[in-house]
Symmetry: C2
Subunit: 402 residues, 2 copies
């Protein structure tokens, strides 16, 4: 019998209890032993829950119980989740988590602590919800040097962008609909401003390049400024607008950013709709692989948390094996954002002649509509993109192209 404690009994925590209960026999068959939930830590009581008797309010009960071998942290937020995780690892308990905030900010320290104490710290659910992305990188694709990763990492914003495209709704109306459906929170800032995607991009940098880039060092733009005209112009040019977490390496330095981008329709990410997530990786040996599925939600996220619990229960990731493993990126590891180069989309309140005169050979595609001219340029750096239009043209909107 392997004893498990759950920290947090919210959406993911209760999903985790449901997976462990509903598929108990299946999981026992795979682990070779029973997994039993001994404690559930939450501030609340759940008198009507079948788990009511296991709810505790004092974290010390869990950390001081030597029977608890595996702790699943699903509290969300940095504190006290970080402190609790640290204490569990120091007490010789393996920790699995869906908490991207903790992994993105403290992952390196916690992985090192896990190694020191001969236990595991796993966080498959922190990126892509139920989609098997992270372990695929650190196990299946371990023979590859990853050169680039692009992901639709936030279901809320993807739902809003899909809705804007399909119904012609404005950002505000699409957000409101997403809130009504429970896809967006009352305070949607972390989603629509791109912070959630930035945390996941930080974690992907850790696994793809071995260096955890701080979310604070990832240039992040949200989707709040996107208009119906942008969505329509992008479609006419042959693109879909997606919020993309992007990271690649250039001359040994990591370029990581989160921003809405025009994704060409031939790219499989362009077809990922609604709340679904997708991650497209380029490895030097495998080429391009993509993972697609539910990036959030109670049971999909819990599926990944319990997958990690089962992996720990196998005893296969503990000990001295450094999987997953990364270090913190230093200032040296991260490229100057001004050098980041890609093709650009602009929408101008100018005449086509004014645009072609100002941008010259930079123009790759141009569409003229009543009220604006939309353009796709050749690749230009952040610095040059600004310089090439400053003072010359009236920019209505501007986005990167993938």
């Amino acid at each position: 019998m392997i004893k498990v404690a759950l920290l947090g009994f919210g959406v993911v925590g209760s999903g985790c209890a449901e997976v462990l209960t509903q598929n108990k026999d299946l999981i026992k068959g795979k682990v070779g032993d029973d997994l039993e939930i001994k404690y559930i830590l939450d501030l609340r009581d759940f008198p009507d829950s079948p788990f009511a008797q296991r709810v505790v309010h004092d974290f010390n009960v869990i950390v001081n119980d030597p029977e608890v071998a595996i702790v699943a942290e699903m509290m969300g937020g940095s504190h006290p989740a970080y402190e609790f995780t640290k204490a569990c690892l120091e007490a010789g308990k393996s920790v699995v988590t869906s908490n991207k905030e903790v992994v993105a900010n403290f992952g390196t320290e916690l992985l090192a602590l896990a190694e020191k104490h001969g236990v595991s710290y796993l966080f498959e659910a922190s990126v892509g919800g139920g989609i098997p992305v992270l372990r695929s990188i650190y196990v299946d694709l371990a023979s590859n040097r990853i050169s680039e990763v692009n992901g639709i990492l936030n279901g809320t914003t993807n739902y809003i962008l899909t809705s804007m495209k399909q119904s012609g709704a404005s950002f505000g109306d699409a957000l409101k609909k997403a809130q009504e459906l429970g896809y967006a929170e009352a305070n949607p800032a972390a989603d629509v401003e791109g912070l959630d995607a930035a945390r996941k991009t930080a974690i992907l940098c850790g696994l793809c390049f071995g260096k955890l880039v701080s979310p604070a060092d990832i240039h992040t733009e949200g989707i709040t400024a996107i208009t119906g005209e942008d969505v329509a112009a992008a479609a006419e040019l042959g693109y879909a607008i997606k919020l993309i977490g992007h990271a690649d390496t250039k001359e040994g330095k990591i370029q990581a950013l989160v921003s809405p981008r025009l994704v060409p329709l031939c790219n499989p990410l362009s077809g990922i709709s609604d709340v679904f997530n997708g991650v497209l990786l380029k490895g030097d040996m495998v080429g391009e692989v993509m993972f697609y599925g539910p990036g959030a939600g109670k049971l999909p996220t819990a599926s990944a948390v319990v997958g990690d619990i089962i992996d720990v229960a196998h005893g296969v990731v503990g000990g001295t094996v450094k999987r997953p493993y990364f270090e913190n990126a230093t200032a040296e590891d991260v490229a100057d954002f001004g050098d980041y180069a890609c093709a650009r989309y602009f929408r101008f309140a100018n005449t086509p002649d004014e645009v072609t005169e100002a941008l010259g050979e930079q123009v790759q595609q141009i569409v003229t509509k009543s009220g604006y001219v939309a353009v796709i340029t050749k690749a230009m750096s952040e610095r040059k993109a600004v310089a090439s239009v400053a003072d010359k043209l009236c920019v209505l909107s501007c986005m990167r192209v993938l």
Copy 2:
């Protein structure tokens, strides 16, 4: 230093040597030790290869060398690959392979043998080439009861079907082009008749349902009878034709078949083009997840083989841990094929009136063209599908719908 032997120095074998050499430092960083190719078994000599000195012609040199810890079998064909694998496992060496024929026919026996001898038998490369599919099922999705799997599992046929759709080419012309480009072999039967996809479907049954269904027990149809009219009619009805390896469970029994199917454009498998593969899984907790990427080719396949080598080198899958694990399906485990029910596509040389009179309310969609009427029916069993049209209508072609 961990010593590795390669069995077979063809496309995948030489790719494996390339991955191990080119990313030597990267792999050492992950394993914590050097991986060295000590022997390469092949009937041929390779005097110009940097590995010339390691080529041996006698398998006994390898199996009798206690220094060799891991053997990568990339010979293809059942014999002597099966016998060599058996001998290596019995000698206490872990074996990894890309050989779907051996896994589909002898996988259960070889997994049991590996367990008995405390070593591993891994075969990630046998399904989906470089795409991380199998380990995702047996590790990441271990908390899920998988209810259904659908896969585009053969790159050659997907290239041919994509080519027929895009250029309007006939099957024969598209096959010829695929042969010219090296995507199809001179004798393309194993690909175009569906046998390769059936072997992979058998392996997916093993991992998804715990029961390896013999490829001989999987109803298998190829793509040779598909015409340009079918491709055009399918497009008009809103579908793409794909060769689909399908398996699900119904009342505890496995239904597995390989056949060309009309895939609705809203299904992400419909957009997978050219030689790419994709596998779409349904789990009771995670919902739908899809894996997409290069299903064949030298380096992608080698990427998966070396991923398995690294996993074994970590020592994480040996011992008594049964991962992956399955048993052979018995006759009891497999459903009667006559009961398999799905929607159907028919093309008839009849008038629309004759068709609607004969099929009545079974008709869901109908398209009339000069020379034929194309129809999508409601779900009907194999038995009923035959009965409903026999003697009544003149069938030009008939396919299942996904």
